[in-house]
C-alpha cells in the first residue's frame, strides 16, 4: 500500500510535468549542473525522458511490477533530485523548482526547497521500510517453507 502511494505520487509528478514540458526544461536548465548551455531541443528531450522514467517507475510501483528494482530506481531518483535541491539551497536566490507540485503556495524559495528535501527523505524512508518489511517477511516465512518442504519430503 505504501509503495503504491509513492508510485501514485510519481505518476502524478510525471503527468503534471508532461503538461508543462517547456517549463520543466527551463527548470532543468536552471538547476542541473552542466545543463545551462544545452540547446532547447536537448533540454526538452531530457525533460521528456525524466517524465517517462517517472511514469514508468511510478506505474510499476503501483502494479508491483519488478517491485525491488523499481524501488531502487525510485530511491536513486529521489537521491538525485535531493542532490539538485541541496545545491539550490546553497544559492542565495534559488529558482522555484515546483518539484512534484505539492509544496504549499506562498512558501519562500528556501523554505520550498527544505520542504522538498524533507518530502524526498520521507519517500525514501517509505521505500526503504517497504524493502525491509518485505525482506523480513520473506526471511521469516522461508524457514517455514523449508520445514514444510522437509516434512513433505
Amino acid at each position: 500500500m505504501a509503495q503504491a502511494l509513492v508510485g501514485v505520487l510519481l505518476c502524478y509528478a510525471a503527468v503534471t510535468k508532461a503538461f508543462t514540458i517547456p517549463m520543466f526544461a527551463f527548470v532543468i536548465q536552471s538547476t542541473v549542473p552542466f545543463a545551462g548551455n544545452a540547446s532547447t531541443s536537448t533540454l526538452i528531450v531530457l525533460a521528456q525522458a525524466v517524465v517517462f522514467v517517472e511514469i514508468f517507475v511510478g506505474s510499476s510501483l503501483v502494479l508491483h511490477f519488478y517491485s525491488r528494482p523499481m524501488r531502487v530506481v525510485a530511491v536513486g531518483m529521489f537521491v538525485a533530485f535531493s542532490g539538485i535541491l541541496s545545491m539550490q539551497l546553497a544559492e542565495e536566490n534559488p529558482i522555484s523548482c515546483g518539484c512534484l507540485g505539492i509544496s504549499p503556495d506562498g512558501m519562500g524559495s528556501h523554505a520550498e526547497i527544505v520542504f522538498g528535501l524533507m518530502r524526498n527523505v520521507f519517500l525514501i524512508a517509505i521505500l526503504a521500510a517497504v524493502s525491509v518489511y518485505r525482506k523480513r517477511g520473506f526471511s521469516q516465512s522461508e524457514p517455514k517453507d523449508v520445514s514444510q518442504q522437509v516434512q513433505s519430503a
Binding site: 503538461f19 517524465v51 511514469i55 514508468f56 542565495e92 519562500g108 524559495s109
Partner: protein
C-alpha cells in the same frame, strides 16, 4: 533469465502502455505548441514590420523638446499637460463602459508616466513620483526571486543582492545599467502626436471567466496595434490596487491600455503599451504593465 508469467506480461503491457501514452502526449503537446508558436511568430513578425512602416507616417515630438519647453518651477505640470493634450485626442475604445472622469484619469496617469519615465528619464524623480502616488515597491521575494532581479544583478555587477540592499538603490542601479545596454535601436527619443498614433482601450477582466477580448473594430487596426511581437518590461512598483490580490480574490477589475508610438535613436518607430488597472468597483488606477513592440528583444529591459 526468469520467464514472465501471464500476470507479469499484463503488468508490463499496462506499465509500458501508460508510460508511452503519457510520453506521447507530452511530445505531441510540446511539438504542436512549438510549431503553432513558430507560425504565430511569423505572422506577428509580418504585422510588426507593417506596424513599424505605418508608424513612419506620424508627426513626432522629441522628449528633449518637451523637457526643454517646460523647464522651471511649473515645468512638470505643464509638460504633463502637453502630453495629456496629445493623448486625450485619441479615439477611446471604451469596452468597459467607463465614465468620462475615469477616462480622464487614465489619460492623466499615462501622461505622468510618459513624462517621468521617458521625458525626464531620471530614476530618482521617477521613484519620487511613484511614491507620491502612494505606490510602493513590490516585495523583495516578488522582485528579487520571481522577477529575477537578483539573477540579473549578479550577472551584471558580479555581486549578490542582499535583503539589506534598499530596493530604491537596486532599482536605480539596474535602471541606469539597462539604459547603457539599449544602443540606438532601444533608446527612446520621442513620441508621435497624431490622434491616430494613440490608442486608449478599456476592458473588464474577470479572473473566473478570463480576459475580455479587445477588438478595435477594424482588422487592419487590430493587426497594427494588437498583433505585433511584443515584449514585457519589469515592474518594480505596486499601486494601491494590487493586481495579484484582485486575482486571488477572484474580483473583477478594469484594465486600460494606453498605446503610443515611440521613436528610437535609430529612427525606428514602434508601438509601446502601458497597462493600467483598478478594481471593478472603481478607485485609483495603478500602473501595472509596460510592453513594447520589438522584433529582436536584444536590448535591455525598461525597468519601471
Amino acid at each position: 533469465m526468469k520467464k514472465l508469467n501471464t500476470l507479469s506480461w499484463v503488468k508490463l503491457v499496462l506499465v509500458l502502455g501508460v508510460s508511452i501514452l503519457v510520453l506521447g502526449y507530452s511530445v505531441w503537446i510540446t511539438s504542436s505548441a512549438r510549431s503553432g508558436s513558430r507560425e504565430r511568430k511569423s505572422e506577428r513578425l509580418n504585422a510588426t514590420e507593417d506596424s513599424m512602416e505605418w508608424a513612419q507616417g506620424f508627426e513626432m515630438v522629441s522628449f528633449q523638446a518637451v523637457k526643454s519647453a517646460h523647464e522651471g518651477d511649473l515645468g512638470d505640470d505643464q509638460a504633463i499637460d502637453s502630453i495629456e493634450s496629445v493623448l486625450e485626442r485619441a479615439k477611446v475604445y471604451n469596452q468597459a463602459g467607463l465614465d468620462d472622469s475615469a477616462i480622464e484619469s487614465i489619460v492623466r496617469v499615462a501622461s505622468e508616466f510618459i513624462y517621468y519615465r521617458f521625458v525626464l528619464d531620471d530614476p530618482e524623480r521617477y521613484i519620487r513620483w511613484r511614491l507620491q502616488r502612494d505606490d510602493q515597491f513590490r516585495g523583495m521575494e516578488a522582485l528579487y526571486v520571481k522577477a529575477q532581479v537578483a539573477l540579473d544583478y549578479e550577472e551584471f555587477f558580479g555581486e549578490s543582492l542582499t535583503d539589506q540592499t534598499p530596493l530604491s538603490q537596486s532599482f536605480t542601479r539596474l535602471y541606469e545599467h539597462q539604459r547603457s545596454l539599449w544602443a540606438s535601436r532601444y533608446t527612446p527619443i520621442g513620441y508621435a502626436v497624431d490622434p491616430e498614433s494613440v490608442l486608449v482601450v478599456s476592458a473588464t477582466h474577470n479572473p473566473i471567466v478570463g480576459e475580455q477580448d479587445i477588438d478595435l473594430g477594424d482588422p487592419q487596426l487590430n493587426r497594427l496595434w494588437l498583433e505585433t511581437l511584443v515584449g514585457g518590461h519589469r515592474s518594480w512598483f505596486r499601486g494601491k490596487t494590487d493586481h495579484d490580490q484582485l486575482k486571488a480574490n477572484l474580483e473583477k477589475y478594469q484594465v486600460a491600455t494606453v498605446g503610443i508610438v515611440i521613436e528610437y535613436e535609430n529612427m525606428e518607430r514602434r508601438t509601446l503599451y502601458l497597462g493600467i488597472l483598478r478594481s471593478g468597483t472603481g478607485g485609483d488606477w495603478s500602473v501595472e504593465a509596460l510592453s513594447a513592440t520589438d522584433t529582436a528583444f536584444t536590448g535591455g529591459l525598461i525597468e519601471f
